[in-house]
């Protein structure tokens, strides 16, 4: 076990963990965060997605000892009591069924649009080509992401 300091959603946390522990396990088990989820443990579905230094990152495949910098989880998307516009867009479109996939869908889209604010629909789809929602809320999710993208460039 080793001590690590993690910056998560604007706060610092010291955790004692085996260096090979995937970041997801630390976030879920040690820091009690509910946003990132264990989906496959293989980096194939996106449910564990967090944003590290602006990059959407699959936390199930990322050993905690390799993480440097600011981590944002779904809980940290909004910085105040207000919803983040992407969260509001998902509510406006009612783009959720079971909700398990949301970290993958929302944070992947957020990180992508931060770097590509004028992305086309095709580029957004491409960015989400490695994210799964087995309830297939796809159509509404893509609409919600479009709504958010349009709002931030308006």
């Amino acid at each position: 076990m080793s001590l690590f300091t993690l910056r998560v959603n604007g706060r610092s946390h010291e955790v004692d963990a085996d260096p090979s522990t995937p970041l997801l396990y630390v976030l879920s088990d040690d820091l009690d965060l509910k946003g990132p989820k264990f989906g496959c443990g293989l980096g194939q579905c996106g449910a564990c997605t967090v944003v590290v230094n602006g990059q959407a990152t699959r936390s199930c495949m990322t050993p905690v000892n390799t993480v440097k910098g600011e981590i944002t989880t779904l809980e940290g998307l909004a910085t105040s009591a207000e919803l983040h516009p992407l969260q509001q867009a998902f509510i406006d479109e009612q783009a959720v069924q079971c909700g398990f996939c949301l970290s993958g869908v929302m944070l992947t889209a957020k990180a992508f649009l931060d770097r590509n604010p004028r992305a086309t629909d095709e580029q957004i789809q491409q960015a989400l080509s490695g994210v799964l929602c087995r309830c297939f809320g796809n159509a509404r999710m893509l609409k919600a992401i479009r709504r958010y993208a349009d709002g931030r460039t308006a």
């Binding site: 088990d29 989820k37 264990f38 779904l74 809980e75 998307l77 069924q97 949301l102 799964l132 309830c135």
Partner: protein
Amino acid sequence: MTSQLTADARTALTRAGFSRRAFLKGSGALVVAFSSAELSNGLDRVFAQGFNGAGSSQLDSWIAVGRDGIVTAYTGKCEFGQGLYTAQMQLVAEEMCVPLDRVRLIQCDTSMTPDQGTTSGQQSHPANFNRANLALAGATARESLIRLASARLSVPAADLVARDGVIASSANPSRRIAYGELIGGQRFDLRLDANARRKHPREWTILGTSVPRVDMRDMVTGRFEFVHNVKVPGMLHGRVVRPPEIGATVSRVDESSVRDMPGLVKVVVKGNFVGVVAQKPWQATQAAERLNVIWTRGAVLPPQASLYSELRKQPARDTLLVDSGDVEARLASAAAVLRSTYRHPYQMHGSVGSSCAVADVQGDRATLWSATQSAYPTRNTTAMLLGLEPERIRVVYVRGSGCYGINGADTVTYDAALLSQAVGRPVRVQLSRRDEMAWENYGNAFVIDQRVGVDGSGNITVWDYEAWSAARGGRPGYNTPGNVVTGFLVGARPAPIVPRTPAPPPDTPLNNNLNTAPSYIAGRVGDAARGAGLVRSERVLSHRVVSPFFTGPLRAPERLQNTFAHECFMDEVAAHVKADPVEYRLRHLNHARLSAAIRAAAKAANWEPRPSPRPRSSRGGLATGRGISCVCYEGDNGYVAMVAEVSVDQNTGQIQVTRIVVAQDSGPISNPDGMRSQIEGGTLQGISRALGEEVTWDERRITSVDWRSYRSLPVGFLPPRMDIVLLNQTDVDACGSGEASITVVAAAIGNAVFDATGVRLREVPFTPERVRAAVRANSE
């Protein structure tokens, strides 16, 4: 009062969707349902319901009113992403005449809610939204409150109106009394009144509207608690070690292989069930990977390539649903006979989240936090595995990843319970992706032969259906834990399939619950003709054989496979007689609601009446076409028609579904946007299943064990334009809408591909390789 609540009752309340703070303010509602004596001994407290999932005849089991007028309702039908939690809140608010924010709903907790068996088969609307159970409880409570107010206010009941939790004289609104004053904190002590008047949909102000999902804010902010997030004090972490091959058994477990691993608490072996328990989840994961278990070899599996012919060779349990006795004679005298064989593979639920559960087994009692769709049945079957009394076990439903049927939620609940019992502490278990996918209860494989005879006018005179399907296990129900892998590994057995040939003649009126009978037959047994169609010479014969893999209900179970075969074959017949597929269906139907759905879908799609295939401009290259399919879901639980438009790249074999039109009649609509969401999700999931999903295996083991080897369409795939027509019917019973749309997708796509290319696809999934091969074969 809260001090009278046990810690886990408080937890359950929080999980049930409202905060403890809200509960504290709610003052009293639960005192009705639970006296302090009951709470202190909560596990012994089961309401009037029995073990058969029959709900409860006692109003107090369903509804309680607090002193502050908050209405708390208890339901045995659970939310798992389909919007049912919100819809049930709307139902209670509507019948009780209170605003939505004064309703609290507690779902599926065996210490609190009625036993309504399993939430499945889009049966929750039929069960809870008509004239029984939760709906009837709301109506009974409202009428009881009016009677109480009449006595209290000395105003005739007929002159009283209930609104916003207050009952007032319509002549003199100052004569009024609130629900909380009437009954707050007390029992109704009434039975459900079968004559209590449900509000007609015309009177609805809350039901029938698109109330947004009440749980969504917590979800998009990452604060919603799934079963994966449940933590209880002292909780350890378990992982299971499943056999490497189907049928492999434990020879020896070499515990020394993990002895030095940090955090390891125990290696647990019970029969062929193997698991590890550790302090931390990563320790458990590593220990499970490192543990050296010596297994016997498993069984040799039937080659995947010959699965469908193997099914036909197995000893079978035969069932005749309908048999007019004249099928062979009619076929012999028909002007033309068509025959075709359709194949549908095993498919997966493939939940995004690997299944998870938490169990706390302490001596002779246990608490299970589980995403099972079957709280009471899981209580009973877990009791069997643990050797405990069912009444000493409490199952608290906590939502999991969307399941679409029996995913790993039930089996992982057993895993957690067994590991917790072995260590005497709470244990959380999460399956690995491989364990989830290699051992879940797959949707059944089917091979279906059909023959149809037509007369000189092109009308169908005889329809013969004969199918072989593979099954093993299924939902455990109340007494068959061996129906899922964990129960099986500790020695329980799946429900047997007892061979029976020939099938006895049908002797009960047609029940088309599994959509085994096509919509176009009369379905006559004795004097009753309960089919949806006009074809009077008919036979529906099923052969059930033993599957090498566990199987179980997967969204539209069996109905999807059957409907794929019926609706594609109907299209083949229509094409053979050069009839328009819409007109040809209507010509053979005797069912006003299904016909109305077909007409509505065709109209919304601007359907051009003509036979399929469309006159082709060229072979090769892109071709476009449209197809229709329809079903009376479960015979009488929702009526849906779908038009699919596709473009097919005949060089690559790639199918693009460009547009879907759905018309669906599910009776009076509780929440139009919620119904649309279900139809959209079902449709897109149906496209994924039709185009790419198939369980695969080699000589001894399942090989589709992750998202590289089991192909699901991702969020980024381009969804078709979807036009959804909701056929709101207000003078009939409510039907479900979670499964109907997916049932017709594969057939609508297959028929559209035929329209585009003249190529008939008779095996799901329609992979590019299969489409290319079919196009090549057709052009030779």
